[in-house]
Amino acid sequence: MSSVPGTDKKTKLLVYTIEECPVCGQKTKRAFAVGDYVTKEAAKCSKCSNPTRVSLVYAEGSKPSR
């Protein structure tokens, strides 16, 4: 997973990819992988087996371990 420094430099940002099923709306969050992009076809939905799409890629902070 890629990580970048956050705004305050104390938190590290971890990047996630959100896959969403267009049929049942099930969302899955996983670590970002190079080559991911919004609207890319992704894995099959764990609930209804329909192909999912990447709906978002974003970073959120994680406090560094002491």
Binding site: S2, T39, Y58
Partner: protein, 345 residues
């Protein structure tokens, strides 16, 4: 007594030390950005020859803006110079790489732009530092010392952008394209301007013309040319133009806050804004803006959760604006403005 007489000298000395420390930071930053760009060209772009010399020439590449003492037709001239520059950069990057994957080429372009910007910032700061030192100018040094924290902050933001670009991750500036991509998914797309695509869809009885830069490449496209073309050449008669863009927040404002307004929501040098305003004024179409607040660092680095979550709220705001400002049977033009890296359609 000594402090009284030598106060300005002492302050100049302290300012010189401060600026020197900042300048050292800038040197490290610009060298790192240069190295990252070269590494990317070699490792990902598989550059056929050593690109170091070409990159170094590129860093000093200048764009000479047209003369503005006679401002008539100035926007057209700026557009011509900027387009020439962009075309040349793409052609040169393309020639350096031994592959023509558009995502890799666009990322290489952006990395070189970051390295060029940092090189330029370093040069200007160094110039005023040396000038102040040489002429022993207290006021030059004090002004530069006061500006240094903001300059370092901006340079830091640029350097942080390198990581996001290399990985092909959407940046905060791409929030407009993220919203618009939801309307374009599964629809037929057509190229309406350089690096800019459009799809036609429908929302509650309105015909929507939605456009954004061609993703997932790191493009910003030519929304000005595209909007003009849709209205003037494709015969669209929109009742409203709605633009979604990232906007720089003021200190104290929250990241991901949404602001609504009127006018052309687009940054840059001003050419695109001029073209959009001109096309809208000529066709007497109201321009509405939906903005997502973020800092400069957040705009050019990987999209933060708050900004990504704002995309859902922006979609709701967009739907409301369409419903409030237009009626069934109307046509609406929706433009997602921003760098579309990592955001296809």
């Amino acid at each position: 007594m000594i402090t009284f007489f030598y106060q300005t000298r002492l302050q100049s000395y302290l300012a010189l030390n401060d600026i020197s420390r900042g300048l050292n930071k800038l040197t490290v930053m610009k060298d790192k950005a240069r190295k990252e760009a070269i590494d990317y060209l070699v490792n990902v772009g598989k550059a056929s020859n050593d690109p170091t010399q070409r990159v170094d020439q590129f860093l000093d590449y200048v764009t000479i803006m047209p003369v503005d003492i006679d401002p008539a037709g100035l926007v057209g001239k700026i557009d011509h110079v900027v387009t020439t520059n962009n075309d040349r950069v793409r052609a040169e990057v393309g020639a350096l790489l031994s592959q023509n994957n558009p995502v890799t080429v666009s990322i290489s372009e952006n990395l070189l732009e970051v390295a060029t910007s940092l090189n330029q910032i370093h040069k200007i700061v160094r110039h005023f530092y040396l000038l102040g030192k040489k002429t022993n100018s207290y006021f030059t040094l004090i002004q530069l010392q006061m500006l240094m924290p903001m300059i370092i902050q901006e340079a830091d933001a640029l350097l942080n952008a390198v990581d996001s670009f290399k990985m092909g991750q959407p940046v905060g500036d791409g929030v407009g394209p993220v919203v618009v991509s939801r309307f374009m998914a599964g629809k037929e797309k057509r190229v309406v301007a350089k690096d800019t695509v459009m799809a036609i869809t429908e929302y509650k009885g309105r015909k929507l013309y939605v456009l954004k830069a061609d993703g997932p490449m790191a493009y910003v496209g030519q929304p000005g040319v595209a909007i003009k073309k849709v209205i003037e050449e494709m015969g669209a008669k929109p009742s409203a133009i709605i633009m979604i863009d990232a906007a720089l927040k003021l200190e104290g404002e929250k990241t991901g806050e949404i602001a609504e307004g009127v006018g052309a929501a687009i940054g840059g040098i001003g050419v695109e804004k001029f073209q959009i305003e001109e096309a809208a004024t000529k066709a007497k179409v109201p321009l509405y803006a939906i903005l997502v607040k973020q800092s400069i660092l957040e705009a050019i680095t990987v999209m933060r959760k708050e900004i990504a979550e704002a995309a859902d709220k922006v979609t709701q705001v967009l739907n409301r604006v369409i419903e409030e400002k237009t009626k069934e049977g109307d046509e609406v033009l929706v433009a997602g403005i921003g760098n579309t890296l990592g955001v296809a359609q």
